[in-house]
Symmetry: C2
Subunit: 406 residues, 2 copies
């Protein structure tokens, strides 16, 4: 299996891509980047996407699903804005997304169904189409490999840092590159990807295989991170494959295994960045559950712990309150015997066989004061395991969310 | 239907009861009340209880379930401590609960199975039995009608006020009294009652009917309140009926309807107090969902909204962010068309037919600044409705929970 090596770069590091970001006045902060374009100039680009499972679906998600279908998985451009989610905006909002796609298609000389649209920001406020439409010429003009680095910044809302990850490997003797960006922070929930993530690659991947691989890669990454248990109306992960490396990925081939491994690694790296940058988060928490009877049980226990505000506030306070962890496991709906459970923070046992492990308080506190913490729960019932990423719950989460809209 | 009238009083206002509370040194604060006893001196007292659905069950819950069964629903005394939950404490913890019941039984001259035990506080720390056993003589000595008012205070942990409610009505021409106390604050979740609630009445109710009625009363009250989505290991609601009013409640009688109505009213009043006093809460939020296709859909939508940290922080900040409400409804797993949904805060429309209702921001802010807020969601799909109580999510929740244990 070829080794994927991280490198500096942006969405245009894979061959064939260009990008740009501009300030369109959608965000309240004057001059902040809030509109971006990603474009593959390769004619045989393929694409795939996964979207929110929320019943309330933002207009751009509706449109992007349609365009992916209409183009037969051959979209080549993504236009994305932050500052307004264009969700709960009815027919007007849908028309805005449509006009946006149309205008981008015209500027790039491609068909409308080759353009995907994504939005993030406040729900329920009308998105003024002219803010976007007026800036499309400027966006198109500034498309370049260098300017692609602005895209990660333009999609940020309450994120505190842009999230970019680039990987390269040799497949069939040729260099293949994968790049991804993501924005997260709040309203991140499993059962769906993160808010927004865009991935580019210069591998050549047939649309149906690309779709299958994206779904496989999203499960142990974007679908395994939770910030606050809310599921957004706008969640979108899109991958574009330009094919420009000349490396063809065929179903069932060794190259396909290698490519999927890279895609998973990329998505996991971005998912961890999202957890680390959860709204108000000071710590990245990995919940590692093992010894469950079934995969479903392992997953349920991991998610219950990851979503427990009591567990997350205890970690914020570096309080080794393992009782809350066991309690959350207890209401997860999984089948296990509490008297068999071990709980560790990093390497340190807090609870052994359901009882206090008589740990040293000062040592436990020190472990919990790390920036990256692993809570390991062994149910000792079977062999199934699950891993979920989350973050601590702090005062800043409240501050950020108490007045997000106004 | 007779009218239930609220009155001042305590758990011993119904005829036949005595109570007492003492400081036993279980709480960290010196001299704080943390041990209490409730006792019915009527020989034919009946009792019923509902307990946590968590797989991790505290020792006192295990023992109380056993004793309720063993006595055939004829327990007469409840001993309760705060400051330590006696949960995740293994066999030692169970023995402590057992010794406690035994010692109380001896002091009161009743059988061990007539004593129920409840605990609340930190999980996973050993509860020193001598702290309780040494104070039982003092508790027994101070049992009185007046001292019963100390019980509500002795069961508090992070509660900011004691929660007592007393109701009286004339049934079959005779005065019947119901009294209840509760403690809540954190780890309150539906699918189970609140942390702790104890109810006394001087009606005479057969054990099986009392059990049935308690379960019916808990559903639209303690099972309809949520603070943080966590389900405790110790949740307990117990009712004791002394029969001393001389009013017999027979199954299927008008008196039974009247009694159940009073029991529900009592439980709802206590449940609302718990929501109002949620950890760090500044506001009581009632989530009123109507127009759902099924009861299950209405319930799912109400609970998703009530458990959304994003909705609860927006209310804390008096931000009319209705998009988060619709978004939470969207991931609830209920069947509805977002384009039909109306959302109001109190009387004010924020969202009409899925779209911004063009409300006045200042007016909306004023509505959200009330101490009691109702979020009304009409799905316009059918006739089913649900009501859930919760509270806003504030900085103080984080402060309280980041260092609860240490």
């Amino acid at each position: 299996m070829p080794k994927w090596v991280p490198l500096e770069g942006n969405l245009a590091t894979p061959v064939g891509f260009l990008g740009a970001g501009v300030a369109a006045g959608i965000k309240k902060v004057h001059g902040a980047l809030d509109l971006a374009l990603i474009f593959s100039d390769a004619l045989d680009t393929t694409s795939a996407g996964v979207f929110t499972t929320n019943r309330v679906v933002a207009a751009p998600v509706v449109l992007s699903r349609q365009n992916l279908r209409a183009s037969g998985g051959r979209a080549r451009a993504i236009i994305v804005n932050s500052g307004n989610a264009n969700a709960c905006t009815g027919r007007t909002g849908y028309r805005t997304a449509q006009e946006t796609a149309r205008s981008v298609a015209k500027a790039l000389g491609i068909s409308e169904s080759e353009v995907l649209v994504a939005s993030t920001g406040v729900i329920g406020l009308p998105l003024k189409p002219e803010l976007i439409l007026n800036r499309i010429p400027a966006l198109q003009k500034s498309l370049s490999v260098e300017n692609a680095s602005h895209v990660a910044r333009a999609i940020m809302t309450t994120d505190t840092f842009p999230k970019t990850y680039v990987l390269r490997a040799r497949i069939d003797g040729t260099s293949v590159t994968l790049a991804g960006i993501a924005k997260g922070a709040g309203m991140i929930h499993p059962r769906m990807a993160t808010l927004l993530s865009f991935i580019t690659t210069d591998a050549a991947v047939p649309p149906t295989l690309l779709d299958k691989m994206l779904r496989a890669a999203v499960a142990p990454s974007f679908n395994s991170v939770t910030i606050d248990g809310d599921t957004s109306t706008n969640d979108t992960v899109i991958v574009l494959a330009s094919g420009r490396s000349g490396v063809f990925i065929r179903p069932g081939s060794k190259a396909a295994d290698a490519f999927l491994a890279g895609l998973e690694e990329l998505c996991q790296a971005l998912a961890r960045m999202i957890a680390r940058d959860g709204e108000g988060a000071k710590k990245l928490i990995t919940i590692d559950v093992r010894g469950a009877r079934t995969d479903a049980d392992a997953d349920r226990v991991a998610r219950a712990i990851a979503n427990s505000p009591l567990v997350k506030t205890a970690v914020a306070g570096s309080d080794p309150n393992w009782g809350r962890i066991l309690c959350a496991a207890g209401y997860a709906g999984a089948n296990f015997d509490p008297a068999k459970v071990d709980i560790r923070v990093n390497g340190l046992f807090l609870c052994r066989r359901g009882l206090d492990a008589a740990f040293d308080e000062a040592v436990a506190k020190r472990e919990l004061e790390q920036k990256e913490i692993t809570l390991r729960v062994d149910l000792h019932q079977g062999k199934a395991a699950a891993r979920i990423w989350t973050c601590d719950l702090t005062h800043d989460y409240i501050t950020i969310n108490a007045s997000y809209r106004t």
